[in-house]
Symmetry: D2
Subunit: 167 residues, 4 copies
């Protein structure tokens, strides 16, 4: 089913988090939508929002060298047992307005909460030129030892720096 | 980033909803995973879980005639202004274990909450033969008049019946 | 399986169409890759190339008003019986080099063949700054009457103009 | 644009390969479609056909131990330099009829051609109960040394056996 209401009345929206404006986010990236993103209602399928959110957060982490793609550093049982690995433990999204192909989407990234071994990122998705978000989502990554799968005692330094730069 | 921890320690899981067992769900469907579902970590990308959850709920609604695909009844401004249309206003998922291609995923569907114009579905995703879920997610649909986009005064009868049958 | 060889020897490439350079294409668009585009080998899954090719061609047609999204002009049995509708009857792609998230992909569009009721588009996909394509694909659209599904006697005027502008 | 004509006249189909019947394929698998597979025309997006074709071939190879997922045997520069790796060098598909969510798709797999270092698989996609295919596609894999990227001198034994079993 499609990922957003085009113009939900205020009554319906009352139970949901309020939309954050563009200046609530400290880092932005942009992504073109694709034909296949639209579902039968002619709007972005709700799963596409998560793909955009995921890509935006990881693009930030890659730009800050806080995430290494496994191809560049291939994982093997011997070499990765002590490495920290981020895993998504929960995510969610509220949908305010719908987006559709064709057109670009701006994704703003912020950090909502930093724990001992976890980070919660929040992402606002805005249509080109829009001042209010079409959707805002969150992702909580927990960093674990690749071998034991137990949470790390502290965030890896490049990640901690990337997170601090967003605050 | 990948959609699940393979074996998060209990400490990490403490802040999240407890996993529901298979018998918590009253209706099941199954879906084969696809090669493209796996991301660079070799597990289902987190967006795929949402695609499976969405498909499971809609498959139930279609089976109960509580959802009509727009192709079968094409929307036009004249004919649909009074029709009720379900839109996703929020969704979320917690990830307990990872899933991977190849293999089938069982999706259990239940209703968590029914409002005047909204329904929240919960879906548990289980690997074949698994007794504990890999992930459990939820979707809240609000039903609006296709024309005005205002919430309906009561759920459409086929939907209300489909929801009641799950309770 | 992944969509491209990173550096296939010339022997292997001998049986395939030669790669066309950037100046072989008359219109370009660009698209950011997404995290979920990478498969377990860390490169764009082969189906993603088709999604980019499809999106590039349709973005061109939309920009030229040669394609109307069904949402803007919803299809109903009564109103669309005489309308021309493009359907994909065949497609294909050869893969020269692999692409990967993160990074943008430039897509060049050209027309390879125009028939009475059909158009074959060719698309070259180039990594940012690359002079040789990572892949080149084609799509053949046949235009049919929406009602009878029989091929049209001539291409719709906006489409014919869009095609002519690419030649 | 959508992946298939619903009922193209015979004139249009004349230039394309003839559809092969179900008994042309020696191995079958099945896959449920997903809500997000449908595009704005209410049928499977053409890229989805490739995802189903890719998944079917790889599911066969995995079942025959002719393909090892990189997670099970993680690639590292040291260990994989001599391993054979299959890369897709070309693919294509012709579309006869459209498919749509909901519903399962049967995928038949056959081998069209075996070379020194390459295999071309053909896959027919059939709607449930259909005797004629909705689409038929092909994939050519070239097997290269993971290190040098040069084609192997002969197909790996498990792959050769899997291919022989399909003939």
């Amino acid at each position: 089913m499609r990922g957003a209401a085009r113009a939900l009345s205020s009554a319906t929206a009352a139970n949901r988090p309020a939309p954050r404006a563009r200046d609530a986010y400290s880092w932005y990236t942009s992504c073109e939508t694709r034909w296949a993103d639209n579902d039968v209602y002619g709007h972005l399928n709700n799963t596409v929002y998560y793909a955009l959110i995921d890509s935006a957060v990881n693009r930030y982490l890659l730009a800050r060298s806080a995430l290494t793609l496994p191809v560049a550093a291939p994982a093997s049982p011997a070499t990765t047992s002590d490495a920290a690995l981020g895993v998504v433990v929960s995510s969610g999204c509220v949908f305010f307005h719908s987006l559709a192909y064709p057109g670009a989407v701006d994704a703003g990234v912020r950090v909502a909460r930093v724990g001992t071994s976890s980070v919660t990122f929040e992402v606002g998705l805005f249509g080109a030129g829009a001042t209010t978000p079409a959707a805002q989502g969150h992702f909580t990554h927990v960093y674990v030892h690749a071998g034991s799968r137990r949470p790390v005692a502290r965030l890896p330094a490049p990640l901690a720096a990337a997170v601090a730069a967003l605050a």
